[in-house]
Structures are given as C-alpha cells and as structure tokens.
C-alpha cells in the first residue's frame, strides 16, 4: 500500500531527504487518486506522513507532493480559506484542506491515525483531487449573479443604509469553493439542480436593496431544477467553511417565491 512512496524515493527524482520537524508524529494518509492516462477506475494510495499536530491537511498534501510524489494533483491558492480552491472530502466531510488542523483529526487513546482524502462528490474528476468545476460555475452564472438596475447610474455611490446592507451580508461571504453544493445529496443524484452555492449567490442580489431584478432571479429559481429541489438536509450549512447559513438563505428564497416579497 505504501509502495508509491518507496518507489518514488528509489527512482532518484525525489532524492533529497524530507525534513522531519521535532515533535512530529506519523499519520497515515489515504488518498483517492485517478490518473486518466492510466487508470480506468480511481484507486487508493496510502502514505505515511510525519507531521505536527498544528499542521493543516494542506501541509500534509504539500509534503507528499514535494517530497514523495511530484505528480499528486490538487488545487490550492491562498492557503488560508479565502480563495476557495482546496475544497475536498476529508474523512468523509467537505472541508477546505487549508483550514483543517491535524490535531482535530487525531485518533484518541494513542491509536494510530488514518486520514482519508477524496475529491468533492458530484463533479467529474479530472485527476486525483482535482474536479471539473465548470458545471458548478455554469449554475452560478445562470442565476444572473450581478447587480441589475434600470434607472440612471449615480454619479457617485448609491446610498444604502446599514440595515439594508446587513440584510444580505451573510451570502456575500461566499468564496465559490463548492463545498456546499458537493455535499448536497440532491446534487449528487440530480446534477441539473442549481445547488446551494448558486442559490446563495442569487440570494445576495435578491435581497440587495440596490438591485431591481429579484423577480427575474426568482423566476429562474422557481424552475424545476431550482430551490424546490432542496430537501433541507443542512449538509450545505455544515459544509460551508465561511459559516454562511446556507439552508436559511435557501429558505428565504423559497419564502420570497411563496409570498413574492423580498
């Protein structure tokens, strides 16, 4: 199972000794991998990784990529939870790899720790942990995620009261990481469903006092693949790394449709 590590080291291209920090413990990292050039089916690779409890899962993945297997593929960018590139399934739950600390995954009672890492579900896998995000962005674009107003543009700023601004603050925190949408059991089985993230981004404009196209977006979300598909399982709210009340936002859109008021 740990063959990849040994083979790569022996091949010479990973010749330098990886650094092992003081106080490191060894954990087992099981990664679901897929290389479309060679694999018909995804496979599991298992690695032993020395790491500090204060390390994040992203550090473990970097260790593997830098010192053990230079072909291990995953997205990451800012590395502290604001760009939304590194959503993945960690121990069966959608998380950002840069925001999960190893110490929160350690098995208690001196038992050995195994961490499983898989790509997010419901989007086609390109390679290893990297999925095709296009269907996700397509749903995002379909809700008209931009300010629409029909009057003359102001010479300076539009006036917006603190209360009006607060009304949609929560849904503007979205980082489009897809953790919510790919945790949704409806989305897994019915890929045509807009999914929570698209609804969150529609919510942002539907409840923005400056916007005048709430009706257009509500019509879009009233569609057969719109908000009524939501079965209120709260997976999305649990998965959101930004703490957005996703299910609540979806409920507010449903209510706006029922009562036609924003």
């Amino acid at each position: 199972m740990s063959a990849p590590a040994e083979e790569k080291t022996a091949s010479g291209s990973r010749g330098s000794e990886p650094p092992v920090p003081d106080g490191a413990i060894t954990v087992t990292v099981k990664i679901r991998r897929f290389n479309p050039e060679f694999d018909d089916e995804p496979r599991w690779d298992t690695f032993e990784v020395p790491a500090l409890p204060s390390d994040r899962v992203l550090n473990l993945l970097h260790y593997l990529k830098w010192y053990v297997d230079g072909t291990l593929t995953f997205r990451r960018s800012c590395a502290h939870g604001i760009c939304g590139s590194d959503a993945m399934r960690i121990n069966g739950v959608n998380r950002l790899a840069c925001k999960v600390l190893l110490k929160d995954l350690l098995a208690g009672g001196g038992k050995a720790t195994t961490i499983t890492i898989e790509p997010i579900k419901g989007l086609p896998v390109h390679k290893d942990l990297l999925v095709d995000m296009e269907p996700f962005f397509e749903a995002y674009r379909a809700v008209k995620p931009y300010l629409i107003s029909y009057g003359n543009e102001p010479t300076r700023e539009r006036i917006q009261s603190a209360a009006d601004r607060e009304r949609f603050d929560d849904t503007t925190k979205c980082i489009l990481c897809a953790a919510c949408t790919t945790s949704c059991p409806v989305y897994w089985t019915e890929g045509s469903y807009f999914g929570p993230a698209a609804i969150v981004n529609a919510h942002r404009f539907i409840f923005d006092s400056r916007d005048e196209a709430a009706e257009e977006r509500l019509d879009i979300l009233n569609d057969v693949d719109g908000v009524w598909r939501c079965r209120t399982t709260f997976n999305c709210t649990d998965a959101c790394p930004r703490g957005i009340q996703v299910t609540k936002a979806i409920q507010e859109v449903k209510r706006a449709l029922l009562f036609k008021r924003t």
Binding site: K8, S11, S13, R14, G15, N35, E37, L52, S54, D55, R56, N59, K65, W66, G70, T71, L72, T73, R75, R76, S77, C78, A79, H80, G81, I82, C83, G84, S85, K99, L101, H126, K127, L130, M133, R141, K144, P145, Y146, L147, I148, E153, P154, T155, R156, E157, R158, I159, Q160, A162, R165, F168, D169, T172, I175, L176, F205, D208, R210, D211
Partner: protein
C-alpha cells in the same frame, strides 16, 4: 506543430486579479476582442487575499480629504521615489474607480448616512480605505467577476455567443511572449490540466500577473506569485525598475510553523491595535524617523487621543508606513525583546470590546482561532515581518501603461513606479483599478492604430515549445521543489529585510548555482496536470526575477523604503534622482542607472519647503517654491 491549439484576439490579458479583470473589462468596452488567461480558476486570484480596503480620497469620513492629500501621502510613503505622474493619476482617479465598483454591485460597509465607509490605515492622513469588513479583496474580485459574467451575457444576447467579445482561459499558463520584429505578436502557453500547448495570437498583451513573493521563504503571497509577468517582460526586451524595493509587511503570523507568513491585516492597527515587545512596552514610539516626527505622537496618551480627536493630536506610531514598522519589529526581535516564537505582540484585546473586534475583524478572529488557537478578543497575537509586495516592475508610460516594447502593457503589482520605494496599505487595490482601466484603454487604442498586424514567427513557436519541454529531459535527477526551497531560503537570508553587500554577493553566487542546477532539473510523469513540471517552469521565472532584486539591491548604496542596507543606513537625496533599470541578457541580468523624471512644479508646490528638504537635493530645490519655508 499540427496539434497546437490556436486562438486569435485583439488584446490578451495575462492574469485575472483586480488589474487583469479591470483591464479586460475596459478593453471589451472599447470594442476590441479580448481574452484573459490565468493560472488559477476564474475568481481565485491573489487579489482575494487583500483585507483592509481600497484607498480613495472620497472624503466620506473626513471632508478635508482630497486627491492632493492622498498624493502627498503616497509620495511620502514611497520616500519620493514614486513616478509622480502615476501617483497623481492614482490619487485623482481612485474615487471614481471605487464608485464605479459600487455600480458593479460591490458591497461596502456604510456610514450612518448610507455612504461608503472609510477606515484609517498606515501612512494615510485621513480615514480613506473603502472596505467590507476585512474581506475587501474578495469583494473586489467577485464584483469584477460578476461584471465579466454580465458582459458575457450581454454579448450572448447580441451575438448568440457568450465568448464573442470577452473570453476567459482559466488554469492556463503563459510561458513565453512572441515577437514579430520588435512588436508583440502573441503568447505561448499550456493548459495546466492537459499539458497541451496553446498559441494566442494578439497584437497587444497586458501583463497583470502580480508579484514575486514565492521567491521568499516567509511570505503572505499565494502560489501564483512566481514573477511570471516580470520575467515575460524581461525576456521580451522590456525593462524593469525599482526591483530592489520589496515590501515586508510588518505583521504576518509567526506561529504555528505551518501558517508562518500568513497576513494579519493592517486594519488591526488602524482600528486601535498596538504593538508591544516582550517587556510589554509599546516600542514603536522609539522608532519614529525624523521625516515623520511632526505627524506621529511621542507618547501613548496623545496617540490614544488621536482615535477620537485626530484634528488636535498626532497619529499613533503603529500607523507609520509599513517599511518603518517592519524594521522596528526586526530590531526588537534582534535585541532580544521578541516573543517566544520570534515575533512581537499585536494586541487589540485590551483596546476594543470583544464584540467590536468580532464585528470589525471577523476574518482575523477566525484565522487566529482556527489556525493558531488564539482568541484575539482575549489575548495578543504574535506577529513578524512577511514578504508581501514588490514595488518594482515593468517600466511603463503612466497614462497608457505601455512598456518600451510595442504592444506590451503592464498594470498592477507587475508594473513599477507608482509606489516608489514603499507602498502604502490600501494603495494596491486602487492601483489595480486605476491602472487596470488605463492599460485596457491603452491596449485597445494601440490595436486601433495598427496598420499591419504582427504575426508570430513559426520558429519562435518551436523555440517556445522546446523550452517548455526541457524539464522532461533534465538529467540531474534533482527535484524542482528542492531548488525552490533553496531559492526561498537564500532570498530570505541574504536579500531580505536588512541587507549588506557581502550577503548580496553571496546571494548572486547562490542564484548562479541554482540557475545551473535548474537547467538540469528532472520532472517525473507526463504533461497532464503535472505540478512538478509547472514548478520547473515557474522556477525559471523566479530565478531571473530574484537576480534582478539582488543585483539592483547591491547597487543601491542607501536605505530607502523597502530597501534597507545595514552598510548604508542613510537615505541619500542623490539616489532619489536615480532609478535602477534591469534588462535581461543571454547570461542574466544587467542593471543600469537612469535619471528620475523631475516632479512637476505644481505637484511639488503641494509640499512644504521644509519637508522637501528632507528628500530632494539642493540643486532640485533651487528655484522651486514649496509652500511656506
């Protein structure tokens, strides 16, 4: 190359951060066919990490603010090395760009009467930063992304094709610019996913690739910041200026090791946070340089009064420009008054009520809670300098963002001059919008005036393909990550926050050795999404740009802004008149001196004579009249 994917555009923008997207929107609005190519997914660019805000003299928080005050602050922050015309355009146009962003739908925190709220920041005389909590960069990127989506849907309604006027190529890396004679003819790159090569034929290219921070070990920068645009410009024959000036942000996280370098926003200090050493002393009072004595308080009582009464008190020294604060922290740690993990303490817990901290600084509150197990409403943070921004970049015409190579433009961090020797916080997001827009317009105008269209020569394509494939035939067996780690260590240790001639000479030797080894580096696997290969190609750019930094830093024998020489600690007015210009040759980098363009009289007149005496030479002052004497 029959398998080569080919596209043709009028304007190609490289980079999809704030500058790149604003440039692309402007070019599209000018009616030229435009494409944006970026290394990350669309909407994930480094700009999302900006926290504090956008500096613009809108005067919403203090009606005394106007562009002249912003211009003065920017020139002071850059120690007068700034390209004055860029600083002028930036200060004049920033408010319009913020208001425009608001019409795109950007969310802002608001004043009691519903206008855009503005916050205090280092080096800015008045509260000037438009902001959304501490996620302003994310909102800026999202607003521009939304604008792009709306334009594409307009284009679809008109032409039936979303991408008929503006197309985004995400997760695609440009490795070389292509020239027809001395003119830009296009760019060569590869899809990160498939590894397949792609040719963009375009008479105008706008570089908007950001910075170079990934060449340093401790940095707040994201993986994209490998100096690609700087290196592409050099190899295409353009010149870089001010490369010796690298900003170390004073407050990065220092603990735990896995998060070292991650940014702690300056808003913490803007909103009342103070710096203390291990003895509990607010040490910044001992580090106010003479040029800033009349603007910054001498004692805690006056500094604390300033928050409520800025008219009658001087500012707290924690809000000095970043270069001053970073050096002060460095000195405290070296003197043995640092924190356990080699930083100092940044405390907001004793300054604001807990709920106020959570409201104003939610991202910081989460970041420390989640990553360091520190509750910033109850205890201080440990912070230290982190490589944050490069002031140097492509030498451009201030009004059009054109470089010296016909058809090549640059905007944002990859361009040089605007910030002089040190950038003020908040001036980056405004820079992106002001000069992104100007680059888009400049490139569109350039394309319109062309009588013949440049064509990329086939042999240049073959050469670009060959260069890109070299890492697969490397013979040394060395891993590109090993070289990257060694480069980061060398730049951090030898060309870091405090510099000496001997160390930089050693750095140049190290860089030459790394360059030799990089030519023979080996990558495993195939071209399909191969991170090792991608790094091997990025490494070429990082090494070239690092050499610029080291060579220019060695030549500048003074200390100014983001360039501190232990062996030349004084600021020298003669050096203010001199720019160091980097160009690429077959064997590396040459640096030449070039006189700085004198500041226009009416702009000089915005300063008091006594202040100008601190920066300008006697010659420059003769016959010029500042206000007062």
């Amino acid at each position: 190359m029959p398998e080569l994917e080919r596209h043709e555009f009028d304007v190609l923008v490289i980079g999809a951060g704030g500058a790149g997207l604003r440039a692309a929107i402007e070019a599209r609005e000018h009616g030229v066919r435009t494409a944006v190519v970026c290394k990350s997914l669309f909407g994930k660019a480094h700009t999302v990490m900006a926290e504090g805000g956008i500096a613009a003299a809108m005067g919403n928080a203090n009606a005394s603010d106007d562009w002249r005050v912003h211009f003065r602050d920017t020139m002071r922050g850059g120690k007068f090395l700034n390209n004055w015309r860029m600083a002028e355009l930036h200060a004049r146009e920033a408010p319009d760009r913020v208001w425009e962003l608001e019409t795109y739908g950007a969310l802002f925190d608001r004043t009691a009467d519903g206008r855009i709220s503005q916050r205090n920041f280092g080096g800015h005389e008045y509260p000037r930063l438009a902001h959304v909590g501490d996620r302003t960069g994310l909102e800026l990127i999202r607003s521009l992304q939304q604008k792009v989506v709306s334009l594409q849907q307009e284009d679809f309604a008109r032409t039936g094709d979303h991408e008929s006027a503006l197309r985004v190529f995400a997760e695609c890396t440009v490795t070389d610019l292509l020239l027809d004679g001395d003119r830009i003819a296009g760019a060569f790159g590869y899809w990160r996913e498939s590894g397949r090569f792609v040719l963009f034929t375009a008479p105008a290219v706008i570089l908007a690739t950001g910075g170079i921070g990934k060449s340093f070990k401790v940095t707040s920068n994201s993986w994209e910041y490998t100096g690609d645009g700087h290196a592409l410009a050099l190899r295409a024959g353009a010149s870089l200026i001010n490369m010796e000036f690298v900003q170390f942000h004073p407050t990065g996280m220092v603990w735990p090791p896995s998060v070292k370098g991650i940014l702690v926003t300056e808003s913490v200090r803007g909103d009342g946070g103070v710096l203390r050493n291990s003895e509990g002393s607010r040490f910044m009072f001992g580090y106010v340089p003479s040029v800033f004595k009349d603007k910054y308080a001498d004692d805690e009582a006056e500094a604390d009064r300033w928050y409520a009464d800025p008219e009658n008190n001087r500012r707290p020294p924690e809000l000095l420009p970043r270069d001053e604060v970073a050096r002060a922290i460095n000195s405290e740690v070296k003197a043995g008054r640092g924190s356990e993990h080699g930083g100092v303490f940044l405390d907001v817990s004793t300054r604001l009520p807990a709920e106020e901290i959570e409201r104003r600084l939610p991202s910081m509150h989460h970041q420390f809670k989640e990553l360091a197990d520190v509750d910033i409403t109850a205890e201080p943070m440990e912070v230290g300098p982190t490589c944050h921004y490069v002031m140097g970049g492509v030498e451009v015409d201030p009004d059009t963002a054109a470089s010296s190579v016909p058809g090549l433009f640059a905007a944002g961090e990859v361009s040089g001059g605007m910030h002089g020797s040190n950038r003020l916080g908040g001036n980056s997001l405004s820079d992106l919008l002001v000069f992104g827009r100007r680059a888009g317009a400049g490139a569109a105008e350039y394309v319109r005036t062309l009588t013949t269209r440049p064509v990329p020569p086939e042999q240049a394509l073959a050469a670009a393909e060959h260069t890109a494939l070299v890492p697969f035939s490397g013979a040394s067996g060395e891993n590109p990550y090993t070289l990257h780690v060694e480069l980061q260590q060398a730049m951090n240790d030898l060309v870091g926050i405090i510099r000496t001639a001997g160390e930089m000479e050693r750095a140049l030797e190290r860089l030459a050795e790394l360059r030799r080894r990089a030519e023979a580096v080996t990558v495993e696997g195939h071209r399909q999404f191969n991170p090792g290969w991608h790094l091997a190609l990025d490494l070429r750019n990082m090494l070239l740009v690092s050499e610029c930094v080291a060579r220019a830093a060695l030549l500048r024998t003074e200390s100014r802004g983001g360039h501190t020489r232990d062996d030349h600690p004084r600021m020298d007015p003669d050096w203010r008149r001199t720019l160091l210009v980097c160009r690429a040759t077959a064997d590396g980098v040459t640096v030449t001196e070039q006189p700085q363009v004198p500041i226009r009289d009416d702009l000089l007149a915005l300063f008091e004579h006594t202040e100008l005496q601190k920066y300008l030479t006697g010659d420059e002052l003769t016959g010029r009249s500042g206000t007062g004497s």
